[in-house]
Amino acid sequence: MIELYAIAEQPPPDVPSPLVTVPAGSLVAVCGPADDEVTPETLWHRETVLEGLMADRNLLPVRYGTRVEDEEAAARAVDERREHLGAALERVRGAVELSVRAVGEAGGAVHEPLLALARDAVVGRPQAPETHCAAYLVDRAAVQEFVDTVAALQRTTTNVQVLCTGPWPPYSFATP
């Protein structure tokens, strides 16, 4: 079994061994060995691989744990979904994902000003003690302004702590 890591576009990206690229029409599946167990280390390793790929590429991260029999099966799985995947890649082209969590009474107050700087957002269900939890799809060129705005909101909003991480591959926006 091999694991699907990400979907990118032709031409195939250079990938470090033991990863492989599998062409599927105008798309490329980036595949690698499947992890035997889930630990913070294996998850960070996957993230590092994807961040390396997204440095100069648009890509769709694939749900962790997606395994197929072999490279032929990977190509088939991608080709069967090429329209869906192509549309999803269009959606995230030139953008990255930023995560924002807020803790405190007025956590929701940070959303509107951040949404104004983003291409799109997915608001999650905050789990106590969080009061706001969302992912923002932000143009690469707008990341610094977004981060500056987070810092400004932190300064100007009382009783709220804002936690921002990223840039992440567009995990939360990987569907068209």
Partner: protein, 67 residues
């Protein structure tokens, strides 16, 4: 930026939410053991609570380490 263990933990929670709950679903066959995922989630949620508590006490900076 100062990096603290707490910041790394927040980033880890964000990572787990994304890897295990995000990404495009390609094949019906996601062969991750549910028990593994549940265990990771439970451990991480405990960490988030710890981070929030630390923040209330004003002992950690405001931004995640990944930025």
């Amino acid at each position: 930026m100062t990096t603290t263990i707490a910041q790394q933990e927040v980033a880890l929670v964000d990572l787990v939410d994304r890897l295990l709950g995000g990404g495009v679903v390609i094949a019906g066959d996601i062969t991750l053991a549910v028990a593994d995922v549940d265990l990771v989630y439970v451990q991480l949620r405990a960490l988030v609570s710890a981070v929030a508590t630390a923040q209330e006490k004003g002992v950690m900076p405001r931004m995640g380490n990944a930025l």
